[in-house]
Subunit: 145 residues, 2 copies
C-alpha cells in the first residue's frame, strides 16, 4: 500500500479486496484477510466460529453457489486509528444456488481489524439479520435498507 | 478513571457499568455510554437503529421485563489502543416478562468504542443470534455456549 494512504483508506482497500475475493470465491485470497486467531459470529449456527471452522465453512459454502456470488455493501462506515479499526455496513448477498433456487438477502456486517505486521487483518467479524419479535422467531431475511 | 488504567481496563470498566445499567433498567446511565451518533444493529428489526430509535426502543423494552433484567457476559475479549477499541462476548439475557412467561437466550454482542472527550463511548453495537439454514429461517434462540 502507498505510504501516503490514511489508515481509513488502507482499511477500505482491504475491505474492497475482501469483497472481490468473496465474489470470486477465492478462498486463499479471502482467508489471507483474516487474522490467524479470528473469531467469527456468522449468519449460521453455532454462536461462534474459530479460524479453522470459518475456513471449512467458507469452502463448503462457496460450493453452494452457481458461479460468482453477488455481494454489495451499502453505507460502509470505517473508523481507523493507530493499529485498530472497525467498519460496518449493510450487505446484500444474491445469486443462484447449486441446489436450485436463488438467494437474495440483506444482512448487517461489522468487522474489527488489527494492523499486524504492517497489514490490516480482520480479527473479528459479526454478520447477522435481526429476528421478528412476534413469537415466530423468524429471521427477518426479507428486510431491505 | 485512574490515570494508571490501561485502555483495556478502562473499556472493561465501561462495559461493566453498561451491564449494570442494563440490569437495573437505568436508561439515563445506560444511554450515557453511547456516542451521540451511535448506530445499532439490534436483535430486533429494522436492520439498523439510530441513537433516537435506540433510546426509544430501550425505554419500551425495559417495560417488558418484571424487575431487573438478568444479564451475563461470557468470554469477553477487549482490544483497545489509542482512542479506539472493540469488544465481543456471548451474552445471556434472562428473566420474567410483564406479558407473562420468561425469556432465557444467549446472543452474540460486538461493541466498537471511541474515546470522546476523555470517555469511552459505544459508537457502534451489533447484537444477534444466528439463524437455522434448514429452510425454516428460525432464529437459533436455543443455542448455549
Amino acid at each position: 500500500m502507498k505510504s501516503t494512504d490514511t489508515p481509513e483508506a488502507e482499511v477500505r482497500r482491504t475491505i474492497d479486496d475482501f469483497a472481490a475475493s468473496l465474489r470470486g470465491k477465492d478462498l486463499e485470497r479471502l482467508f489471507g484477510h483474516y487474522a490467524p486467531d479470528v473469531l467469527s459470529y456468522d449468519l449460521a449456527p453455532p454462536l461462534r466460529h474459530s479460524a479453522a471452522e470459518l475456513r471449512r465453512g467458507l469452502a463448503e459454502w462457496f460450493e453452494t453457489w452457481e458461479g460468482p456470488i453477488g455481494y454489495e455493501q451499502r453505507d460502509l462506515t470505517v473508523v481507523a486509528g493507530g493499529d485498530l479499526a472497525f467498519a460496518h455496513s449493510l450487505n446484500r448477498m444474491h445469486g443462484r444456488r447449486t441446489g436450485g433456487g436463488t438467494t437474495d438477502v440483506w444482512f448487517r456486517a461489522t468487522v474489527c481489524l488489527r494492523r499486524l505486521g504492517g497489514r490490516w487483518r480482520v480479527a473479528h467479524e459479526h454478520t447477522s439479520v435481526p429476528f421478528h419479535m412476534d413469537g415466530s422467531y423468524r429471521a427477518a431475511v426479507e428486510l431491505r435498507p
